[in-house]
C-alpha cells in the first residue's frame, strides 16, 4: 500500500486497504471472542442454585460481550500489522514514510468509548448490588448464625429451633440471612453455587443473604487462607423441601435434647 502524502485529498481513511482489512477481521473475530469467552467461562461456573448466582452468570455474559469488541479491535489491528510486510535481519527497516504522531479524532473516540463502557459496567454493577443487598433486609427471611473456626464451619439456627449443626440444611425458595463470624482467624464463607461470599471476621458479625432456588447438595468452601488445613475447610449445604427441612430440624432438636 502506498500513500500519496502530498495529495490534497487523500483516500478517505475508511477506504484504505489496511483499514478495510482490520474492519473485516474485527467483524469476524468479535463474535468469536464474545462467544468463546462467554461460553467457556459460563460453562465452567456450572448451574446456578440461586437467583444471585444466575444474575452473576448473566453479568459475566454481559461484561464479556461488552469487552469483546474492544478486544476484537486490538486483535484485528495487531493482526493487520502482523500481516503487513515484515523485516528481518540486523539492520532496521526504512523508517515509516509518514510518522503519525497523533490523531485527535482517534484519541477522542477511544477515550469516549472507553468512558461509556466504564459507565455501562458501573451502572450494571450498581443495579445488581442494589438487588442483592435488598435481600439482606427481607423481614420474612430465616436467620442462621455461621461460625468459622480452624477448620470447620458450624451453623446456629436462631429462628426459634435453637439447633446447632456442622452441616447446613436450607429449605428451598426461602430467603435466608447469614450472620457470619469467626472465633479465631479470618475465614471467608462461600456457598459456591449460590454465588455468595462474606468474610468471617473474629470479633465482628458480617451479613450476607440468599434464596436457594434449587433442591440439591452444594459446596461451602473457605475462601480466605486460614492456616494449616484451609484447603479442607469445606462441607456441603443441603437444599431440601420445606417438609424435609422441618423433619430435619425436628430430628436435630431431639438429638440435641438426647445428648444434652
Amino acid at each position: 500500500m502506498s500513500l500519496n502524502e502530498t495529495g490534497a485529498k487523500q483516500t478517505t481513511w475508511w477506504k484504505k486497504k489496511d483499514v478495510k482489512q482490520t474492519a473485516l477481521i474485527w467483524v469476524i473475530v468479535t463474535p468469536i471472542i464474545g462467544y468463546v469467552a462467554t461460553e467457556v467461562q459460563v460453562r465452567s461456573m456450572g448451574a446456578p442454585a440461586s437467583e444471585i448466582m444466575a444474575s452473576t452468570i448473566n453479568l459475566m455474559r454481559i461484561f464479556t460481550w461488552a469487552a469483546a469488541p474492544v478486544a476484537g479491535l486490538v486483535f484485528a489491528m495487531s493482526a493487520t500489522v502482523l500481516l503487513s510486510k515484515s523485516f528481518y535481519g540486523d539492520t532496521p527497516p526504512p523508517e515509516a514514510e509518514i510518522g503519525y504522531r497523533n490523531s485527535p479524532r482517534a484519541n477522542a473516540l477511544w477515550v469516549a468509548v472507553s468512558a461509556l463502557l466504564c459507565l455501562f459496567a458501573l451502572v450494571v454493577g450498581m443495579v445488581a448490588v442494589q438487588k442483592d443487598s435488598a435481600s439482606l433486609t427481607d423481614a420474612t427471611a430465616m436467620e442462621i448464625k455461621v461460625t468459622g473456626q480452624q477448620w470447620v464451619w458450624s451453623y446456629d439456627y436462631t429462628g426459634g429451633s435453637g439447633v446447632r449443626s456442622d452441616v447446613l440444611y436450607l429449605p428451598v425458595n426461602k430467603p435466608v440471612v447469614f450472620h457470619v463470624t469467626s472465633v479465631d482467624v479470618k475465614h471467608s464463607f462461600w456457598i459456591v453455587q449460590m454465588g455468595i461470599k462474606i468474610d468471617a471476621n473474629p470479633g465482628y458479625i458480617t451479613e450476607t443473604a440468599v434464596t436457594p432456588n434449587k433442591i440439591g447438595v452444594f459446596d461451602v468452601r473457605c475462601a480466605e487462607l486460614c492456616g494449616l488445613l484451609h484447603a479442607y475447610m469445606q462441607n456441603k449445604v443441603h437444599v431440601v423441601s420445606q417438609a424435609d427441612y422441618d423433619a430435619w430440624i425436628k430430628a436435630q432438636s431431639k438429638l440435641e435434647a438426647a445428648t444434652a
Binding site: 452473576t56 500489522v81 527497516p93 454493577g125 468474610d199 475462601a223 487462607l225
Partner: protein, 625 residues
C-alpha cells in the same frame, strides 16, 4: 574471606587510614552480619525473661528471632560499608574526589560488583543479578506449588510446608517484579537516557541495592523456621499465630520498604533535576515517565506497608493488639494498611514494564510513538487513581459495605487510562515497518496478556461478580496475567533490548525467541487452566482440592512446566550471551534515545560533554503533525 586488595594504581595515592574501610565487600558484610546475628541471638537467649503464663503465643522466641534479624541487618550494612559516607561526614572528613572515584568503582575491575559501589551502572548490573536470583528462587517455589497441585491423588508436601512455600513464592515474586524494571534499567539506563553522569544521590543508590540483599536473608532464614504460612498478604490475626518464620516476612518487608523509599526519592530527584539541557518534559522519553510514576507511587505506598509490619511485629513479639479484635484492635485495620500499599504496588510493577515496551515499539516499527501526550496522561491517570482503589480487595471483608460502590467506581475508572496505554501501543504499531525481533513480539504478547488481565480485572471489580470470584483461583490467574503476562514480558523484552548497552554484547536472538514462545504458550495453558478451575469454584492457596478440579490443575501444572523450561532457556541465554555473545555496536537497534550515543563499554561518567537535546526521541518518518 577478606583478602588484601591488590590495587597498585589506587593505593599509591590513598592514605593508609583508608585501608580498612576499602577492604569492605560482600564477604565482610556476610561475615559481620552472621557474627552479629549469632552474638545477639546468644545474648537474647541468655538475658530475655521467660514468657509469663498468660502469653498465648511464643513471644520470647519472636523477640529473640527479631532481635537476631535486626542484628544481622545492621551487621551486614556496616560490613558492606554503607556507613562510611555518613561516618566520615560526622567526623568532619568528608570524602575527597579521589575517594569518591574509588567508591564509584574506578579501576576496580570485577571487584566493584561485590562492593558498595556508587556508580549507577554497577548498581544496575547488581540489581539485574539480584533480580534474576530472586526470580530463580520464586520460580523454584512456584514449581513446587504446581508439582504438588498437579497430583490429584493428594500433595506430597506437608500442608505446613506447602503454605510456607505459597507465602514465600508470593512475596518473593512481588519483590522481584517490583524491582525488575526500575532496578536494573531504572538504574543503569535511566540516567544515561536523560543525559546525566550518575544518579542524584549515588550513595543512596548503592544503599537501596544492598538493603535488598540484606533483606533477602530473613526470608530464607524464615523458610528454615516455619516459613511464611500466611500468603503474601500476611493477614492478621493469622499472621500473629503463624510460626516464627513470619518474623522473616516482617523484617524483610521493613528493610525492603526502606530500600524502595530510598530508591524512589533518588530516582525522582534524578529525573526532576538532572535531565540534559533541552530535555523538556515533552522531550523526555516515555520510559522515564514510567519509571518515575512507578517509584513516585511507591513513595507514599511503602511507608504504610512498613508501619503495618511494625505493628504486626509488636502484636507478635510484645503482645500489643493493633489487629486483635478481642482486645480493641481490628483485622480490618491491617487489611486497609496492607492494601493502601498493595494496590498502588501492582501499578508500581506494571507501569514501568509497559513504558519500557512503549519505548521499544517505536524503535521496532520505525514509527513515532503514537500520541505521547495520551501516554503521559494514561500513566498519570493510572498512578493517581491507583491510590483510591485499595478497598476493592475488601469488598467481601464486611468492612464498610457502603463504601463498596465508590470503590467500584474508582476501580472501573482505571480502565480509561489503561485503555489509553493500549491506544498508544496499537497506534504506534499501526502502519509501522515491523522489524521482527523478540522485543517487538513482546509488544504483541503484552497486548494479548494485558487485554485478558484487564478484562478479567473488570469482572473482579464488579461487586456481585466478585462475590463469586473473590478468593478463588480466578484472582490468582488474573494477577498473573497482569504482573507476569504483561509485567514480566515487558521486563524480559527490556533485558533483551538494553542488554547490548549494559554488557556490550548482543543477547542471543535465537534462544530469546525459543524462550519467548515456550514461556508465552506455557503461560496461556497454565493460566487459562487456572481461570477455569477458579470459575468452577477452586479457592486459591489450597493444598488439596475436590475431584472436579483434577483436569484443570493438571493442565495448569503442564503449562507451568513449559514456562519453567522456557525460563531456563532464557537463563542459559542470559549467561551464555553475557560470557561470549557477539560484541555489540554502539547502537545496534538504531534507536534515537541518548543511552545509545555513549560508547561501549560506557565510560565511568557516561558523557565527556553533557548532551544537549533539541527534539524528542521519536522522530521516525516524515512528520506530518
Amino acid at each position: 574471606m577478606t583478602t588484601t586488595l591488590n590495587r597498585p594504581s589506587a593505593s599509591a595515592h590513598s592514605a593508609p587510614k583508608r585501608a580498612l574501610i576499602e577492604r569492605l565487600n560482600i564477604f565482610t558484610a556476610l561475615a559481620l552480619g552472621v557474627i552479629s546475628a549469632v552474638v545477639v541471638w546468644r545474648l537474647a537467649l541468655q538475658f530475655l525473661p521467660q514468657d509469663s503464663e498468660e502469653a498465648i503465643f511464643f513471644n520470647r522466641e519472636d523477640k529473640i528471632t527479631l532481635l537476631s534479624m535486626i542484628a544481622w541487618f545492621i551487621g551486614f550494612m556496616v560490613g558492606i560499608g554503607a556507613l562510611i559516607g555518613p561516618f566520615r561526614w560526622v567526623m568532619g572528613k568528608d570524602l575527597s574526589h579521589d575517594e569518591n572515584m574509588f567508591y564509584a568503582g574506578k579501576d576496580l575491575g570485577v571487584k566493584r560488583y561485590f562492593r558498595y559501589t556508587t556508580d549507577h551502572k554497577v548498581v544496575g548490573i547488581q540489581y539485574l543479578v539480584v533480580t534474576v536470583v530472586i526470580f530463580f528462587i520464586g520460580g523454584v517455589l512456584a514449581m513446587l506449588i504446581r508439582t504438588n497441585l498437579g497430583n490429584p491423588e493428594g500433595g506430597w508436601i506437608h500442608p505446613q510446608a506447602y503454605n510456607a512455600i505459597v507465602g514465600t513464592h508470593g512475596i518473593v515474586m512481588i519483590v522481584a517484579t517490583i524491582i525488575m524494571v526500575t532496578g536494573p534499567f531504572g538504574n543503569f539506563i535511566m540516567p544515561i537516557m536523560i543525559g546525566a553522569r550518575d544518579m542524584a544521590f549515588p550513595r543512596l543508590n548503592a544503599l537501596s541495592l544492598w538493603l535488598i540483599v540484606a533483606a533477602a536473608a530473613p526470608i530464607l532464614w524464615g523458610l528454615a523456621i516455619g516459613g511464611i504460612s500466611t500468603g503474601w498478604t500476611a493477614y492478621n490475626p493469622l499472621a500473629s499465630q503463624a510460626p516464627l518464620g513470619q518474623n522473616g516476612y516482617i523484617m524483610f518487608i521493613c528493610i525492603f520498604a526502606i530500600s524502595t523509599m530510598v530508591a524512589g526519592a533518588n530516582i525522582t530527584t534524578t529525573v526532576i533535576r538532572m535531565r540534559a539541557k533541552g530535555m523538556t518534559w515533552n522531550r523526555t522519553p516515555i520510559f522515564i515517565y514510567g519509571v518515575v510514576a512507578s517509584v513516585a507511587l511507591a513513595l507514599p505506598a511503602f511507608p504504610v506497608f512498613f508501619l503495618s509490619q511494625i505493628m504486626s511485629a509488636m502484636d507478635r513479639a510484645i503482645g500489643t493488639s493493633f489487629y486483635d479484635a478481642q482486645h480493641g484492635g481490628s483485622g480490618w485495620l491491617y487489611e486497609n494498611l496492607f492494601w493502601l500499599m498493595g494496590h498502588p504496588e501492582v501499578y508500581v510493577i506494571l507501569i514501568p514494564a509497559v513504558a519500557a515496551l512503549m519505548e521499544m515499539a517505536p524503535v521496532f516499527t520505525r514509527n513515532p510513538l503514537f500520541s505521547f501526550n495520551l501516554a503521559v496522561i494514561g500513566i498519570a491517570g493510572i498512578s493517581g487513581l491507583s491510590a483510591l482503589v485499595w478497598a476493592h480487595h475488601m469488598y467481601m471483608s464486611g468492612w464498610a459495605p457502603l463504601l463498596n460502590i465508590p470503590f467500584m467506581l474508582t476501580t472501573e475508572l482505571i480502565s480509561i487510562p489503561t485503555g489509553m496505554l493500549f491506544l498508544v501501543l496499537i497506534g504506534t504499531l499501526w502502519r509501522g515497518r515491523l522489524w521482527v525481533t523478540m522485543p517487538m513480539a513482546s509488544v504483541f504478547a503484552l497486548l494479548w496478556n494485558f487485554m485478558i488481565g484487564g478484562v478479567t480485572g473488570i469482572y473482579l471489580s464488579d461487586i456481585p461478580a466478585d462475590a463469586f470470584l473473590h478468593g478463588s483461583m480466578y484472582v490468582t490467574a488474573h494477577f498473573h496475567y497482569t504482573l507476569m503476562g504483561a509485567g514480566l514480558t515487558g521486563a524480559i523484552a527490556a533485558l533483551v533490548f538494553w542488554f547490548p548497552k549494559m554488557t556490550g554484547r548482543i543477547f542471543d536472538a535465537k534462544l530469546s525467541w525459543i524462550s519467548f514462545w515456550m514461556v508465552q504458550i506455557g503461560f496461556q495453558i497454565a493460566f487459562i487452566g487456572m481461570f477455569l478451575v477458579g470459575l468452577a469454584g477452586q479457592p486459591r492457596r489450597v493444598e488439596g482440592y475436590a475431584e472436579t478440579f483434577n483436569t484443570g490443575n493438571m493442565v495448569t501444572t503442564g503449562g507451568a512446566y513449559l514456562i519453567m523450561a522456557g525460563m531456563l532457556v532464557l537463563l542459559y541465554a542470559l549467561i551464555h550471551s553475557w560470557m561470549n555473545g557477539e560484541k555489540a555496536s554502539m547502537n545496534p537497534w538504531h534507536s534515537k534515545t541518548l543511552e545509545w550515543t555513549v560508547a561501549n563499554p560506557i565510560p565511568l561518567e557516561n558523557f565527556d560533554v553533557l548532551p544537549t537535546v533539541t527534539t524528542d526521541a521519536y522522530g521516525y518518518g516524515k512528520e506530518i503533525r
